[in-house]
Structures are given as C-alpha cells and as structure tokens.
Subunit: 347 residues, 2 copies
C-alpha cells in the first residue's frame, strides 16, 4: 500500500515532502529513507531568526495544527513569523508504515522514538531551511514531547519553548493507557501483524481505539455536564458514533501504533542517563508550560513538576471541559487564553 | 465446563446454593434454573427483623464482601444482625455461564439485568429465609445498583439503604467504559463467541481487561503519588503485572461479560418508564449514599444528584486515593470512616 484514502494532499495539504536521508534511530536500527511532510507559513526574514517550529501531536497532521494555532492577529502570526509545521514520523504524511516500500513497509516499519523525530527535524531545520536559531519551538501532547527534546538537546538553538498539554517523560500510567490502545488495535483478527490488505478491514480495532480515546481524551466534566451538545450531539452515544469513531476510523492502524509506541517510550532524560532533573536543567529557553486543567493524560500536577526543573519556566494551567482534546480547537475560550500566554512568551 | 479453578468453595466459601427456580427475565427470556450462592453470618432473631442483605459487586464474591465489611464491633456485626450476602447472577458462584448445563450454557447464557437479580433475591429473602423486613440493604458498585433496585421496588420491605460507590442508573460514559471492557474480552481470537475450551485460553483478553480495570478502577492520585507502594509494588508496571493481572485473569470471561452487560444496562427507572426522579422518589428507606471522592466510575457529583431525589437521604463522600477499588478494603482509613457512617445509619 502506498496511497491511503485519508493521508493525502486533498485532506491534509498543502505540504512538501522533504527527504532527509537515512536516519539512524536510537534503537540501533536505521530508517532507510526518512521523508518529512512539512507545511510552512510566512517568510523567513533576512536575519533567519523568525522561525517557529511546531511538530504534530498523536494522530494529527499539519492541517489541524495550522487550523488551531495559526492566523493573522493570532500569537502564531504568519505575517511576523516563518512557521514550520513538521509532521511526526509515522503520522501518515511523513515516512510511515503505509507509504514505505521494501523491507520496512507496513508491519515491518521500525520502532521510532521522539528523539528520532527531533534528529530528523534537526536536519530539516539546519540543512533544508538553513536555520540555526528558532524563535519558538512549541507543540501539544506528543508535539510537546518533541519540543522538550529539542530544547534539552539543542538548548542554544531554542530561544523559547511552549509545551501544551504534554510532558517531557511519559508517565507510567500513560504507558498502561498506550498499552491498552495498542492492544485494542493489534487484537483485531484482521490486523494480521500489520499486514492487513486495507486499513478499513481493521474496523473493530479502530472502533475500540475510538472508545479508548473517548474515555481518556476528554474529561468527566465533558460528559457529566453535556458539553458534547455544543458539538451538536444529543447524547454520549451519538458523540462516540458521530464524532470520535468517524474521526479515528479513517486512520491507519500501523501509523497509530508507530505513534503510540513512540509516546509510550518518550523520555527526554534518555540524554542524561535517566536523570530528568539533569535533562530539563539543560533547557535555557524561556519556557511556558501550558497544561489543560481537566486533562486526563497529562494532569497539571505532573506538568508543573517538570516546569520546576526548568530554569526559566512558568506554568499556567488553562481550564477546559474538553480535557486533552481542547487541542482540537473546539473550545474558543481555551484558545483565547492560550493565545494570550503565547503572545506574552513571544513579546 | 461445570467446574472452574477459581469459582469454588475452597476459594470463596463457605456458601450455600439455593435454587430459586426458573426466573423470568425482564428481557422476556427465562433463566431455566436460577441458583443463588449465599453466605450468611449471625442469627435471624425471633422477630425476623434483624436481616441485612448485601449483594455482590462486579467480579467479587461473598468472600471479599465478608472480609471487607463484616466483623465483631464493625457496623455489620454478626453478633447483632443476620447478614445475607448474595452472589449476583453470573458472578461465577450463583448461576453463571460456566456452571449452567444445556442450551443456556457458556456463550448462550441469557442477558441478565439488575432487576432480575433483585427478583431472584426477593424469592430468596421471602421464601427461603421467610424474611419480610430488611433492616438494611447495602452494596458497593453493582451491589449499590441492586440495593437501589430493592429500595425502589419493595420500599415497604427496606428499612435502611446504604449505597457505596455506585449509582442507580449507569451513566452514558460508564456505558462506553463497559463497551470497551466487553470488547477487550470478546476481541480475543480465543474467545470464540464464549465457547472457549478453558477460560485461561482467553489470556490476552483477560490481560486487556486487567489494564482497563487499572485505568478506571483506581485514581490518578493513586499512580501519581505512588500509593501502590503501600501494597508493596515498586512501580505501576509491577502493580499491573503483580496485582491487577493475576487478580482478574483467573476469572471467567463469560461471567465477566454477563456482569458487564448487566452493569451497562442498569437503570432503576425501568420501573417508572425512564423517570429517575419518580423511581428514586419511591424509596422510603432511611438512606445513606456513600461515594468515594476519587472514584473514576461513579463521581460524587453523580451520586449526590441521585441522593437529592430520595426523600430521606444523606450523601457523604469519603476520600480514598484508591478510587473505586477502595472497595477492596486496602485503605484502612476509608473503611474506618465508612463504618462510622454505617453505624450512624443503623443506630
């Protein structure tokens, strides 16, 4: 399989495919050919110092990142900044199981780490764009994990850091969640070790994926107070059937598993032998840590604890009954407050 | 299969099997032979008015209920009360898929409702024990659902009601949780529509069941603050591998699914055409609603809202970092505070 009904320019473009070559992975394997799907907005200035890098979150692409964060008058304004949205490896647009040929195709796609994404993105930023200074690296969820890795590994390159609804190290309970979600996909008899003929064959596994994303992606308040009605669904059942299931069931199970395993293993302290304090202590960027108060994956207490290990960091928890999936942009109030924080950081 | 390595007198006894006959179910089907496994403590007094009825929770049996709640000097004191612990239908001791012969065996066991349990228990209490007045009906979780059903259906029989960590109607989001847990068992290729040769063959499904019970049964605080160390586990991973998985993987998937479907459909308002206010308004028992503050299944706000629909009810939320599984009795402080509430109710 090289084409996929969901992962294409029509649904997620425009983006450019940049070949950054063979990528040595921290697992010891090599990704034979690493292509990054990249969408840019605005112009790089003459001083080459107005670039903002935004890696994608789990299951998302450059399209939703642009829709949620970028706009004239917004904090991330293409009139001021050169904005690079880079799709994470395995997200379906960048090198992924379904679009890779040969021995690393589909069920044989290698295990990728957040660190590997940042290695590939370093090549993209320095070699393809000729940028040595990033005004801001920001990301939500798994995008925050990539942003933490950037700021800890290349502190002199990252002037500012904004990590939204994410942590530098995946918590043990989030590893149990990722195990459960991965199992839900792999247990489908049609999954066949990732060698299914068509991703829609894995519909039972994808439906279970949607259920588990519903249970953890939103907040108890979202369901108890009926916030799904703001999205025009009359009941929780209709919200699951009408939004969560169709949103996720068009995706590719191998791509989701590649990203889930990456999330499961994320730990910025791989650069300091497991010492999180030392790893976050390397960050010199002016940092804004922005948890979502009702987030079930990344509770503010965990985000705050990490922020305290960064020399120049503030932590501001922003309320949203949407929980983690406030990232989707449906909560205008959350977006407004987030923009205020990002504007203050960029000022 | 009629015997099972887990469901027997050695592990869960002593209990008596009481045949209450063919049981018409609210689905329209009939359970051909309904046997209830019953453990009693203490003596019925001459006035026959000192009986306490305690139905079991999800996956639990009379053994754990007795261990957690009953004792000399405790609120539920066998020196004062005649205590009847009745195992819910499908829990592995009472009539269940694995111990039923003929056309309703295993994968063909009929769908049971909370209302059906209460119908069977009514026969047990009135016909087998000759009791017309219950000093208290109490239960935790699915046991609370049975207790609510008792108090709403037979108000004149139930003097007092204590519902711990449970609701009278399963919330829509808990229906999504139960769907996810059921799917996790059924998706195991070894499940074979419930016709597996041995329940241990369904080990992958049972491991997934343990993961999902871990994610919802405890509380974020339990994991963030490392309360698993009080159970002598060094990490979340060891807690899942060393406690949750072995605890649940010895159970029978068909039994778990029978109970999960019962939980999914629980709704006391079936007696009032869907009107919860009317159903709970029927309750005349002196009622104590006892949610667990950190419960992920049954948050205090939902329990409190139900308590307000009962004429003589108080609601007291008791703190436990164990969340829902404080019911297992490992949090001595929660047990102590619970006993105080139950003693006050019985005074």
């Amino acid at each position: 399989m090289t084409s996929h009904a969901y992962y294409n320019q029509q649904n997620h473009g425009p983006y450019e495919l940049v070949d950054v070559g063979a990528l040595p992975l921290i697992s010891g394997e090599t990704l034979h050919q690493c292509r990054l799907a990249v969408a840019t907005f605005g112009q790089l200035n003459a001083a080459r110092n107005n670039a903002i890098l935004i890696p994608t979150w789990y299951s998302g692409t450059s399209r939703i990142i642009a829709d949620v964060f970028i706009g004239a008058g917004r904090a991330i304004d293409p009139g001021t900044y050169f904005i690079i949205i880079v799709n994470q490896i395995g997200n379906g647009l960048s090198s992924s199981p379904h679009n890779t040929q040969g021995p690393q195709a589909r069920g044989h796609f290698p295990k990728i780490a957040i660190a590997d994404d940042v290695s590939a993105q370093y090549r993209l930023v320095t070699e393809h764009f000729g940028v040595q200074q990033l005004a801001l690296v920001m990301g939500g969820s798994m995008g925050a994990q990539q942003a933490y890795e950037w700021a800890a590994r290349y502190p002199s390159m990252v002037q500012r850091l904004a990590t939204i609804a994410g942590t530098a190290r995946t918590s043990p309970i989030n590893q149990v969640i990722s195990d459960a979600i991965i199992h839900g996909l792999r247990a489908d008899p049609q999954f066949k070790g990732g060698e299914y003929a068509d991703s829609t064959n894995v519909s039972e596994g994808l439906k279970q994926h949607a259920r588990l994303m519903t249970l953890h992606g939103l907040s108890p308040e979202f369901f108890e107070s009926g916030h799904y009605t703001s999205l025009r669904f009359a009941s929780v059942g209709e919200f699951v059937e009408g939004f969560m299931t169709p949103y996720f069931e068009t995706m590719d199970p191998n791509a989701l598993i590649t990203q889930l395993e990456k999330w499961r293993g994320a730990d910025v302290s791989h650069i300091t032998g497991g010492d999180l304090r030392a790893a976050l202590g390397r960050i010199t960027a002016r940092t804004c840590v922005l948890p979502i108060t009702q987030d079930q994956f990344f509770p503010p207490s965990v985000c705050e604890a990490e922020a305290r290990l960064i020399s120049d960091a503030t932590c501001k928890s922003i309320d949203s009954p949407f929980g983690h999936l406030a990232l989707f942009g449906a909560d205008a109030n959350w977006l407004r407050l987030l923009d205020m924080e990002l504007k203050a950081l960029l000022r």
